[in-house]
């Protein structure tokens, strides 16, 4: 799942080496924290959050087979 997020985000940004994903697991829920370079924030969020929404839709679809709830947070 972590790899999936990186595969999606890296081609979209100017600084692919600054893309990091960390995982926080609690009971019943997994939170993926995505961080990108400050100048790339706009690219992963997009106009009206369209890009962020699209990334979430794809990630949640991939995680739908798992029992746990999945969340994706985006930060610097």
């Amino acid at each position: 799942m972590k790899e999936l997020i990186e595969t999606i985000v890296k081609p979209l940004v100017d600084f692919p080496e600054d893309v990091h994903v960390s995982v926080i697991e609690e009971d019943g829920r997994v939170t993926y924290q995505l961080s990108v370079n400050k100048t790339d924030m706009g690219k992963v969020i997009g106009k009206q959050g369209r890009v962020a929404k699209a990334i979430r839709t794809v990630v949640y679809a991939a995680g739908s087979s798992q029992q746990k709830k999945i969340f994706l947070e985006i930060g610097e």
């Binding site: 999936l4 595969t7 999606i8 081609p11 979209l12 369209r50 929404k53 990334i55 794809v58």
Partner: protein, 207 residues
Amino acid sequence: MKQVTATGHTVEEAVESALAQLNTTKDRTEVSIIDEGKKGIFGIFGSRPAIVKVTVKIDPLEEAKNFLIQVSEKMGAPIEIEVKQDGKHVHFTLVGKNIALLIGKRGQTLNSLQYLTQLVINRFSDQYLTLILDAEDYRKRRNDTLVQLAWRLSQNAIKTGKNVSLEPMPSYERKVIHTALAENNRVKTYSDGTEPHRFIVIAPVKR
């Protein structure tokens, strides 16, 4: 971007040496000549080697295709892609086993993948390209469903004399409905709300 500067006795030789280093063919690259070189007298005195700079061109379609193949593989639904291009419209048809996962409820996963892949394509493309992702004839089936839905709801609107609002849809799905009801002069259609929550309203025409 991959780039190599090479030298040779002539321009052709220099280009060939650069292509060999990049492991590619001439039609996939851009060549700029830095120095044409000089043969010199008897090939000895005052001779200067030719210098060329060869850059590998990035094919936006190839990039987008790779992106989509990798993403779907990581999602657990490996696919193959058929590519069709018609001017600035690009059409990808996905073929694979677990296509349902990639389409998602009412095509929302397919639409998201389409949006993301379109971003990737236009990062590398000179002219703006529009991309349509399709799998298992989903777009056509969806079109048929939308036309039927439009027709049924227009009957409702006429019968009750009240406006009928539809759920939010992406622009090309709204277009299908507008087109389907364009020739029906008992109702008119318009869109309301702002993207991405824009939706269609079917209104009966009062006589």
